[in-house]
Chain length 321, copies 2
């Protein structure tokens, strides 16, 4: 058994190789450039952890983990084109450095390469892994499209937002765990539980992310806070406050959102606090976390094997702030 | 055994169904819109023909054929974004109708759906089909990137152009035939021959396409001629004439290419004729066609089974002009 941190190191080492041919360099260098930035590689590590929950890590789990990480990076390259983002983690995005057309193709070929890694696994599990991978990949596209749609809508219900965020981010975490579990020979029931563990953990993580943008300590959070508020981004907090604010508070919010005054962030946070949005968000996060842990608890393997996944949940959620 | 035209009808009927869920409509309607235009569906029909060359059509061949057609349409949607094309076959392109971001995602999800159709085939051939599909898909991306690169270069050799055009268009024709052949239980040797038949036929077709743009009868060709010349598009004809023209002819060409005078097309064609480009192109096309037919000839099945593929070659190449 390995801890989450050990597997991060193990996977990072294995993943730090070329994934594409050298030529044509104009197509493949952009992909290698993007992958070279490193990253936490959380999704592939979750695949390895889902695998090790049931058995020793099978060599096929590394192939599937690699496919998952390539797929995730493909979505990031295409998302950056759509968002016209100049930077990601302080680095020039692929479309800024190489042009949008090359970034589009570099993303396409990265997705194809993900399927080539999937194709390296034993035939025994190939159909089932591909089915889950395809379903999840389509859901991630659906989530991204809904996100685009929602930004244009005047109102979005909290339930619709949770569905969107679940598709855009949580299902890939959930499927990463389940693909590992499938390779580990897990039963249908155990597969369902580990999927739900990942999905609910992902939603809890996203609530926390939205919370920290408003209420986090910038030093501990590692990035400037208030970005979502400045951009009027639809977050758990904003959608909830629009549902619970009284007419007076709604009027103030409406005015704040329609301008970009220097004290916008501060004043929106004041309304959030008046409406107890901070407490509400903590409780909602806790609800999803507990649902996740309940599913982990229900998986029929010895408790000791679940420890790394409990640590992962703590790592992702129990950050101090 | 079926003729090419019979299989076009059979496939078109089977393909004319919804390929995506209904929701979210903002993601899936654009794909259905694009697929609803119909088309010759040459690639999937080649898969069926490659299959029927060796055996009765296997149900899996329809799944693979559908995957091939979806993959081809995914490349068209993304190519149109890259080319900023407002129209395709007289219809508004996906990115013009729905925006570039949705077109990007509609393309992505169409590629994923192609893999879901591949995943419906029997496990026995899945690894081999996926390997050839992935290899080909990457080559198509390489061809598209090289095409983008070449348009920016002052000079491109004819050999480099043939490599590019082969990747961009011929390998998918070749692989479509071979995937059908694999499902039909063809030997390695027969698979190689049918692949080479398709690849060489594709190159011959492309030479003809370039030829017709300059020398075709617009009424029989079905579209206005001279478009490539007006756009200074690097074609077989232009690259060859730049290699064989004398200094005086090169100077005239240089002047013609640097402007867009009303008689540009006429005058460039005059230089083409002075340099015997028309005869050269016919001979080159014939060379590739004969290579293709030689490979078809070498396939170890009864001659009668090869008749539909001979008809296909005639349909694609022996058009009157």
């Amino acid at each position: 058994m390995h801890t989450f941190k050990e597997l991060v190191t193990v996977f990072a080492e294995r993943f730090a190789v070329r994934h594409f041919p050298h030529l044509p360099a104009s197509l493949y260098e952009p992909g290698e450039y993007f992958l070279s930035w490193g990253g936490k590689r959380i999704r592939p590590v979750m695949c390895l952890m889902g695998n090790e929950l049931f058995d020793e890590i099978h060599p096929d789990a590394y192939q599937v983990a690699t496919a998952i990480e390539l797929f995730h990076n493909f979505t990031l390259i295409h998302d950056d084109i759509m968002d016209e983002a100049p930077l990601r983690r302080g680095m020039e995005t692929v479309h800024m450095k190489y042009g949008a057309n090359t970034a589009l193709l570099a993303g396409d070929v990265m997705m194809i390469q993900a399927y080539e890694y999937l194709n390296k696994i034993d035939g025994h599990h190939l159909h089932r892994i591909l089915r889950l991978f395809n379903k999840t990949a389509k859901e991630v596209c659906e989530g991204q499209q809904l996100d685009i749609d929602f930004e244009k809508l005047p109102e979005v219900s909290l339930d619709a937002y949770i569905d969107m965020i679940s598709l855009k981010t949580s299902v890939l975490l959930a499927a990463s765990l389940e693909m590992g579990a499938i390779l580990g020979g897990a039963s249908e029931g155990n597969c369902r539980h580990i999927y739900e563990f990942g999905k609910n953990l992902g939603i809890a993580f996203q609530i926390q992310d939205d919370y920290l943008d408003a209420f986090g300590d910038p030093e501990k959070f590692g990035k400037e806070t208030g970005g979502d508020i400045r951009q009027n981004k639809k977050t758990f907090l904003l959608l909830h406050v629009l549902e619970v604010a009284n007419p007076h508070q709604k009027k103030i919010l409406g005015q704040l959102l329609s301008q970009n005054s220097p004290d916008k962030v501060e004043k929106v946070i004041a309304v959030f606090k008046d409406c107890n949005v901070d407490e509400w968000a903590k409780e909602l996060k806790e609800k999803y976390l507990q649902t996740a842990l309940k599913h982990l608890d229900d998986i029929a393997v010895m408790s000791i094997r679940k420890k790394p996944l409990q640590e992962l949940a703590e790592f992702l959620i129990q950050r101090e702030y």
